[in-house]
Amino acid sequence: MSKGKHMDGIYLDNNATTRVDDAVVAEMLPFFTEQFGNPSSMHSFGNKVGLAIKKARMQVQALLGAAHESEIIFTSCGTESDSTAIWSALRANPERKEIITTTVEHPAILALCSHLEKEGYKVHFLKVDEKGRLDLNEYRKLLTDQVAIVSVMWANNETGTLFPVEEMAEMAHAAGITFHTDAVQAVGKIPMDLKNTRIDMLSLSGHKLHAPKGIGVLYLKRGVRFRPLLRGGHQERGRRAGTENAASIVGLGLACEQALRHMHFENTEVKRLRDKLEAGILAKVPRAFATGDVTNRLPNTSNIAFEFIEGEAILLLLNKFGIAASSGSACTSGSLEPSHVMRAMGIPYTAAHGTIRFSLSRYTTESEVDRVIQVVPEIVAQLRKLSPYWGENGPVEEPDKAFAPVYA
């Protein structure tokens, strides 16, 4: 796939955001100019836009394997979809005061749940093991008639680890509980067939699959009790008021069609490059390891922990070589704690601060991967030379004792 006239540099941060596909941009442009009508209008200016939105809705439906196009509600982003899902379940079931989620969710869920705790809700945060896996027995015990909603991510944004959401949705359904999944990282990367699952609601975000930022979807299974977050006009059948973001909806539609067409490529070629990258780095760098459940994860994601160095410093040096990645380090977020996902998996502090996430896309090339494999070991060695925890050829013996702050 050609990279076209785009920025130089090696972009391996596709779980953060993706570049909008050229064809998607071309599809969108007329909706800023001649196709400017309001789809709610009676005249022909609006009608054409309405038809384009209908087509996009069916393209999204196809990617998700949804039974009906009316199950697709366009929103402004993944976060809005997540908030809509949780608030809807709480308002539709006012007598139920409990929520089940996991410790490793995206802040779009975690921050909302922490806020709801302050408002008097009881939130159960499911723990994960050292590979980031859930204990379904712990989950089963929590499924009571007090629970308004279960919200569990399909794929983890940092490690790519997949949760068994289809099985968990079955269990929730059997207990009469609404099940939502934040599938922002999973949609477009792994095949889905929602009509044959018990998943009631699903969030997706356009900019993670080569559509623009500012467009998302809430999948809402037909028959699931729903309370809108935004009330107003009749858009989206009254389930999400507000004039449609027509250009972005059209763009998302085409991006979904393309993602479906590239699904096999994503799970073979992209996966092969990811595996090559990970194996190449781990073969050359001592005291480094892949985090998460490496046997059950997204095909494009590799999260590697480099011991005794700090992630932001690694990113700055990578950036100097034109390589874009991201880190679970505390310093990149401005907090003092490293990534909550790494902490939840019990990754020791010696490694948690030095985790780097490489996330590929169908635009990633073999030569880019080769270049990163070449550069990363040099960067790690350079930073370890600066680290008080690293000796001549390896970590200092018992780093806790060798480096002893007087006040510790």
């Binding site: 700090e310 932001e312 410093a313 505390a330 907090s335 502090y349 600066l386 008080p388 702050p405 007087v406």
Partner: protein
């Protein structure tokens, strides 16, 4: 990505004085791997004069931690221990042309390593007395621990109180929810209930009646009042430009490049803020001195 100054980037990419010093006679270790940054400062001190002959560091941490360590070693080389102890974390940040508020702790760590190294040399015990909490106010870099302690010690009960005592919340006001949460918690400890109300920010309470010209004239008048102090030290200051909240000045004569320049500018900034009743930032102009340019003609 952080908005790092060129100087921070430069010191990160090419750190000065990094690595082990075998014959160090003063070593200061601060931080820990758990916190995400740790710094070992190694000094070679002349026992006769207590002058720092050489300084080296090893740092585990982010870009600004490494840059702060590098800057620290550059600043203190050649100083006596007593003079080195006067180096503040602000001096380290200023040396690097500033650090983002979330990263100011990196400069604090540098200063602490220095204190620890001097204590180590003198055979004294050194204790870290500061605890860092979650950063609440990003405008003024104020964390939860400081706000909580201030609220407790002074029995504060409103967001305005917190602004007046700590400055936290006095800028963009996005953190008022966080401040209210701290007030609710601490007031509950003393059996009171926090009653929320809309905060009237000072700026809005006293809308600036000055137009641009009047404001600039006012700034000139304040600078004129400060001028005699600078001239006593054979320096001077001139106003270059005013761009919103940023006031660009030129330090002239002995003030230019003076080691105390940053401190002087901070003092001037404080004075301007108090007098104008608004938050302003005083920045040394990079365009060069107007006076000097004119004198060449």
């Amino acid at each position: 990505m952080w908005d790092y100054s060129d100087k921070v980037k430069e010191h990160f990419f090419s750190p000065r004085n990094s690595g082990v010093m075998e014959d160090a006679n003063a070593v200061g270790d601060v931080g820990s791997i758990n916190c995400g940054d740790a710094l070992r400062l190694m000094l070679k001190v002349d026992p006769e004069t207590e002058t720092i002959l050489d300084a080296r560091f090893q740092t585990f941490g982010c870009g600004s931690a490494i840059a702060s360590s590098s800057a620290l070693t550059e600043i203190i080389k050649g100083m006596t221990l007593d003079d080195a102890l006067k180096v503040s974390n602000q001096d380290i940040a200023d040396y690097l042309d500033g650090l983002p508020p979330e990263k100011m702790h990196c400069s604090v760590m540098g200063r602490e390593a220095l204190q620890a190294a001097v204590a180590n040399y003198r055979g004294e015990a050194w204790k870290d007395d500061h605890e860092e909490g979650e950063l609440i106010c990003k405008c003024f870099a104020i964390d939860a621990v400081l706000i909580e302690e201030t609220v407790r010690a002074n029995k504060l009960s409103s967001v305005e109180d917190v602004i007046n005592y700590t400055k936290a919340g006095g800028g963009c006001s996005s953190c008022h929810e966080g401040i209210e949460e701290i007030l609710t918690k601490v007031m509950a400890e003393r059996g009171e209930v926090f009653s929320p109300h809309a905060v009237v920010l000072k700026e809005e309470a006293k809308p600036s009646k000055m137009n641009n010209l009047q404001r600039i004239k006012r700034i000139e008048t304040i600078l004129d009042a400060i001028r005699p102090q600078l001239q006593r030290d054979h320096g001077d200051i001139e106003l270059v430009d005013v761009d919103g909240k940023t006031i660009y000045v030129n330090m002239i004569g002995a003030c230019a490049g003076c080691q105390m320049e940053a401190m002087t500018l901070q003092g001037i900034q404080q004075r301007l803020m108090e007098d104008l009743g608004e938050f302003v930032k005083v920045v040394p102009s990079r365009t060069g001195s107007l006076t000097r340019a004119v004198s060449h003609v």
